[in-house]
């Protein structure tokens, strides 16, 4: 018997949209460092008589998200109530879009990594729908009681439902990362996983094909849903764990996928295993019905087009553009995976439209600025690059200027003037002579034919010149004086 296993994975991704206020009331959404239960009002607290009022920005950001994910935006969408009781759901129902979502039928393309000898290839993951809803409050479970923090109750949440198109944990990760990047670049969410701004519900099962000499038996395991995962790594581990667990369970029980046997499992990251949360989840009855407190959402094509125009460059387009410019992979990867650096790049290019900007930011700036390039004003960054291109400073000085400008907030030109950092041949003769004098051994070695000693001496000159000379000029001068000395 030979066995083939085909994993089947679908993702529901929940994303908090970055509106100023909650989806149905005017409470501030910037709750991250706030006192628990300080961002609340009668509406998000579900007090008797309070009514929801939809946040237009929330609707706009979901349209933007839908467009960024290549979805059709529906001119008509409608609010429904999803009824279930849980302490973190204050009204006892969640306002969502069950029957008529705001966006449907989209896709993203993922780049499957190159297997040996092959180029990477694209795979399309279809998106069934994306609908808008409200986030719930947060439950904090202690040993013998549970605390509730309502600050996040009512924050707009977009649920993006994929088709079960992924067939490995790697594909699931690439899909999740693609959606993550796309939404960040579209400006709809910061997708901060640690802050819970993006969460994944993963549906996994496997198709097990056993080939015997005389027959082939195909079995599909029951679907398992793993809720509220908030890291790509955990998601991959949980999926991998499930493949093995489900195969083992299938061999032991022979229970195949059937209506009503979907289960819900959680991920214990300490024990690296999934555990059963709820069985027969489909028996839960949400008693959906149209939300009578709200009107349907109508968006016309003109508005959709307007919103489309507001969407900036998305990773796919940037990838194509940079690849066409023949940038190496590291550069392409950086600007398609770090929105803040891409944004910084675009702003810097406004001041100096030069191909060196792309490499300078990656090679010189990033090591200093780390996560946030904006600690250096993009205009100053452009100034440094211009000085470099004009050969008025050396790379070493450029690095110094980055640090000096960040520390002082002053313009690099001013700093270079004040601190005399411009490249100059003034005093170079003296410096070279001093180096020759001070490094007799190296000079002798060079003269004895050891070429590498020359580079050492160049370095010593550079050091003495404090970056104010460039290595080419230094080398020329050194060679000239050494030659004279030889005579």
């Amino acid at each position: 018997m030979t066995r083939k296993i085909k994993p089947i994975i679908g993702l529901e991704i929940h994303v908090q949209l970055k509106t100023k206020t909650k989806m149905f009331c005017s409470c501030d959404t910037q709750y991250f460092h706030s006192e628990p239960n300080s961002h609340m009002c009668p509406v998000c607290l579900g007090l008797p008589g309070a009514l929801p009022v939809p946040n237009k920005e929330g609707i706009k950001l979901s349209v933007k998200s839908g467009l960024a994910l290549n979805c059709t935006i529906n001119n008509y969408s409608r609010w429904d109530r999803k009824n279930y009781m849980y302490p973190d759901l204050f009204k006892g129902y969640q306002i969502t879009q069950y029957v008529y979502p705001i966006a449907s039928n989209g896709y993203v393309d993922i780049n499957l990594p190159a297997s040996t000898g092959n180029n990477s290839k694209k795979k399309r993951i279809r998106i069934l729908r994306a609908h808008l809803e409200e986030d719930t409050a947060k439950s904090i479970h202690e040993t013998d009681y549970t605390l509730i923090d309502g600050n996040k109750a009512g924050v707009p949440l977009l649920e993006i439902v994929s088709e079960p198109d992924m067939n490995s944990s790697e594909e699931a990760k690439l899909y999740a990362q693609k959606v993550y990047n796309t939404l960040i670049y579209a400006g709809v969410s910061d997708c901060d996983l640690e802050k819970g701004q993006m969460r994944f519900d993963v549906n996994v099962n496997i198709e097990v094909v056993d080939e015997y000499e005389d027959k082939t038996i195909t079995r599909v395991t029951p679907i398992v849903e793993m809720k509220n995962m908030n890291s790509f790594a955990d998601m991959v581990s949980a999926i991998e764990f499930e493949f093995q667990r489900q195969e083992k369970e299938l061999d032991e029980t022979n229970i195949e996928k059937a209506a009503g046997n979907k289960t819900t499992r959680g991920w214990n990251s300490l024990k690296s295993r999934t555990f059963l949360l709820r069985s027969k989840e489909e028996a839960e009855d949400y008693r959906y019905f149209p939300e009578p407190d709200l009107l349907p959402v109508y968006i016309d094509d003109v508005d959709i087009d307007k919103i489309q125009e507001e969407i900036g460059d998305l990773p796919d387009k940037i990838y194509d553009d940079l690849s066409n410019m023949n940038f190496p992979d590291e550069i392409v990867t950086m600007y398609t995976s770090s929105y803040i650096y891409y944004k910084y790049l675009k702003e810097t290019l406004q001041y100096i439209d030069n191909i060196n900007v792309y490499t300078f930011i990656k090679n010189e700036l990033k090591s200093v600025t780390g996560e946030n390039p904006y600690i250096l004003n993009p205009e100053f960054c452009a100034e440094i690059i211009r000085l470099l291109i004009e050969k008025r400073i050396t790379n070493l000085v450029a690095k110094d200027l980055i640090n000096l400008s960040i520390e002082s907030g002053l313009s690099p030109i001013q700093l270079a003037n004040d601190k005399k950092l411009f490249t100059t041949i003034e005093g170079l003769d003296e410096q070279v002579i001093e180096v020759i004098r001070e490094n007799a051994d190296a000079v002798n070695n060079y003269k004895g034919g050891k070429e590498s000693s020359l580079m050492f001496l160049v370095g010593q000159v550079m050091k003495k010149a404090k970056g104010r000379t460039d290595p080419v000029t230094a080398k020329e001068k050194l060679l000239k004086l050494l030659k004279e000395d030889l005579k």
Binding site: G46, P48, G49, Y86, G92, D285, F289, P292
Partner: protein, 452 residues
Amino acid sequence: MNKKHIDELNIAEENKIVRDNINNLNDEYNVYITIFDDDFNKEKIPYALKDNISLKGKRMTAGSKYLKSYISPYNATVVDRLNDKYNVVGKTNLDSFAFGSSTENSGYFITKNPYDKSRVAGGSSGGSAAAVGLNMATFALGTDTGGSVRLPASFCGVVGYKPTYGLLSRYGLAAMGSSLDVPGIISRSVYDCSYVLNSLISKDPKDVQTYESEVNDFTQFNISGKPKIGLIKELNTQLFTNMMGKDVYSNYLSSIKLLSQDFDFVEISFKDIEYSLPAYYIITPSEISSNMARYDGIRFGGDEAKHNSIDEIYYSGRELFEDEVKRRIFIGNFSLSSGYADKYYENAVSIRNEIRNKLSDIFNSIDAIFLPTSPNVAFEIGSKTTNPVEMYMEDIFTVSANIAGIPAISIPSGFNEKHLPIGMQLFAKRKDDFKLLSFANRCEEIFNFNND
């Protein structure tokens, strides 16, 4: 009862009368759940607020023991809009969460009929109607989901007005059937009602279902020509004549005769009125089941005891729900549940759409519909409590206005032989509230009802 219009009253004097009546009569008639003794304001007209409408800083029980200690932290929009001229003197009794037609479902007490203490005041806004009937307020606000303003108004011999859905804001009204709920006005006269209405209109950003009124002053009554009033043919069939008291039916017929001078009565067919009640008693409980889910015993309601599980918290709190509340939650959850929603909820919604369409057709050829408010006058306390369906039948003439979202008003049209008041209703087309009130004012003049 003071025959002066609301804008002609000596406010200080009116306050004194109202306060004396509250002091003297409340224990006898069980009108108010909460009275604001210290809050009398001699410069403002005193009014009564049904206790399912939020008043900032004050307890709101919604007539249920469940909310016996809930203090609302905010004002309903209708309260905010009345604040300049009017002052709330107390919160009135109602059927628990407004589920009922007699206040017999109240978690506190049963409001007694101003004309006969052995009878009900009607419901669910029974306290508000009795407050006006007993001069314990100049006027009152109630809520009308299936007739809760009009029915008690007719039982108590006062005017009860249910506006078009969306004319007045629901913000701050403890929700019952959200797609049908409206605030309503209970008053001594149609003029008073229109006068108060002037302060309440204009679109509320807090309730997206509200719209901007085209009329600013509803007291400038205006009738051109001889309006066409529809009489529902089916009311004369056995189904309805059997249901109706002889007193109500004969008052209906004599009222038509009285009004014929000014109005042109025509017969219309509105067979669907028969289905309005079953549709109502599916849609409303469905919405109720969802609206009641917030009462989970965590933020309000419930007890302070330590519980071992979340289910225990839910159960211990919800035991305080009155029987009718539990009944409607059960019916609603069932009607919406998978496998049954098609048969019940979806079906009721399509009946609702049919009724809306039918009424909108009818109003193409007529200006208003005339019909009794209730099949019977105020009934004896306890006479219908054992049979909820019989109680539901009291709403047969009122619910179709809620189902269609159209404006309706009940005006006192006379007494039966036991001197119990009878009320007649007018329905008009959606957003035709001004026409409705103009007609009602004319009817009131003709009936010349003496409510002393």
